[in-house]
Amino acid sequence: MAKTMYEKIWDAHFVHQEEGQAPLMYVDRHLMHEVTSPQAFEGLKIAGRPIRNTHSILATLDHCVPTKLADRLNLPDPIGAKQVQTMMNNCDEHGLILYDMKSKNNGIIHVVVPEHGFVHPGMTTVCGDSHTATHGAFGALAFGIGTSEVEHVMATQCLPQSKSKTMLVKVDGKLSKYSTAKDIALAIIGEIGTAGGNGFVIEYAGEAIEALSMQGRMTLCNRAIESGARAGLVAPDQKTIDFLEGKEFAPKGEMWDRAVEYWKSLPSDEGAEFDLVIELRAEDIAPQVTWGTSPEQVVPVDQSVPAPTDFDNEGKAIACQSALDYMGLESGTKMTDISVDFVFLGSCTNSRIEDFRAAAEVAKGTSVPSNVTAIAVPGSYQVKEQAEAEGLDKIFTDAGWEWREPGCSMCLAMNGDQLTPGQRCASTSNRNFEGRQGKGGRTHLVSPAMAAATAGAGRFVDIRELEAS
């Protein structure tokens, strides 16, 4: 029978199902950071259980780390410092690989893992972090788990899991020069809603997806979770193989050939059936901006802030009104008339080298108005070094941006970088929830190029018009 890629991965990782219990799924890779793991280690210790497979784990420090160099040496927040120290102790005690703050490999977990080729096509991958879906870009089944599950995987290398339904999101056609993977992701969420993916694993396919770089695919899969899906997947192809070749944790020699052969068997079979199919045309996807407090509250940048009456669904109308209140916006305001106080370029959604190149191209020669703060936070030291080697840091600082050390930073504002109440921010991160970037902060999600254009103008701009003028 023709199988989807998800079914192939599922079948290959099915361990056992005991009567009255959920099926057990084997876990190949377990990623970790300092915030969601400490109690899991503690739990293991109390129960006297060893870690079943220490080689499956890779850890980094990212959520609480300051992005100002001086603060990194001496963490100002004692609780953050304790979480960092605990992670270091735990990794040390169990012999786990940790990219600590002194490591040149340090960065956001979902940025550093691909840089080292730790996740391959067909692997099951988990992390106590919802944006684990990022690794679906490689054709790996990757999803976020809770702290008790982190402990569960450490102890057993398995997770009780029920099988998800499958959704195919097909994006055919060619993306315009100004739209990116981020805009595809936002457009999909706008289309199916933040709960549209509930119970599903999404496979992204079609010409426009095949045309995306690996980095673009990571951005896209990163946001599968925002559409409610458990995970997102893109079939591995030659780009995937080329990306992984020679990376530290990629197979070598004869093993490489065997692995590649297996990876090529993964894409969904011709005629495989999905529970739901959604189709979009790439040409129709304009640069997107969110206006509300949920990623589904999004419009193309050339449109206006909607009104509650624009929604037939009562729940959505109410949500619209409360989002407008929180965001301090009037219905009918053109998105391009909204000015910002802050611009954040970073997060595991958009902090890879390609994102900085795209943003730098737009930022070049602009000047950030004095009432706007713009910060560029690379996803990792590798990205930072590469960007500096290409002179991108200079472009940003010349334009009035701050060039920071890597970390999650203002994506969740746990490290000290945050908005003050009422401040409005154009952000390349993934969530625009109330208070996500600081209490009372107002977040608008955009692509890196859009963020750069916004920083230069102090308000949202349709980048398609920049070129024309």
Binding site: H16, A155, M255, R258, A259
Partner: protein
């Protein structure tokens, strides 16, 4: 997780309804990196005075209840958030059994993950148990999980319901992880297969 064995222990009385998880463990204590050590913060705002000294008015500070493993409490115990810190705190403080007329759903589930037996009784029975404790503070009740019974020196004999699967997990000391570990032979044999399917993941 420790196995739950039949025991005879002091029963403490908490004659309050709707005890919520915020009262059980307040949010300022959630920022710990450990799962242990929450017992000292259990019922913090009730238990301590402003200056940090024990509040003698608070029922669990009654010396007669010292070492109690059984907590007899009012209706709807454990409502509020899903924080697993609540059962962690209860367990760490020393209770392994809670008797009430009802429990909040998530809390009820979380109890089993942490070796705590929540016993549901009807309103009359709860009243009788509470009266016996009031009349004889420090009295010890006997909990027999195997036969699903509680008995008291005052002559109360009660039977309680519990899902057979969960009962077995408590008696065997199996949490979710323990359950999966009980399939270790299956995991081992899967892993042998895994090594053949994905040798490159094991070659290092």
């Amino acid at each position: 997780m420790d196995k739950y064995t039949n025991h005879t222990s002091v029963a403490a009385l908490m004659n309050r309804s709707n005890v919520d998880t915020d009262q059980i463990i307040a949010k300022q204590f959630l920022k710990k990196v450990e799962r242990t050590g929450f017992g000292q913060h259990l019922f913090h705002d009730w238990r301590y005075n402003e200056d940090g000294t024990p509040n003698p008015e608070f029922e669990l500070n009654n010396p007669k209840f010292e070492g109690a493993k059984i907590l007899v409490a009012g209706d709807n115990f454990g409502c509020g958030s899903s924080r697993e810190h609540a059962p962690w705190a209860i367990d760490d403080f020393g209770f392994n059994t809670i008797i009430s007329t009802s429990f909040a759903d998530i809390f009820y589930n979380n109890c089993f993950k942490n070796g705590i037996l929540p016993i549901v009784v009807d309103a009359d029975t709860l009243k009788a148990l509470m009266s016996e404790i009031s009349a004889n503070e420090g009295v010890a009740f006997t909990v027999d999980l195997v036969n699903q019974k509680v008995s008291t020196p005052g002559g109360i004999e009660l039977s309680f319901e519990i899902d057979g699967f969960r009962k077995n997990n408590l008696l065997e000391g199996l949490d979710d992880i323990g359950l999966t570990l009980a399939q270790t032979d299956k995991i081992d044999s899967y892993e042998t297969k895994h090594k053949e399917m994905f040798p490159w993941l094991w070659a290092s």
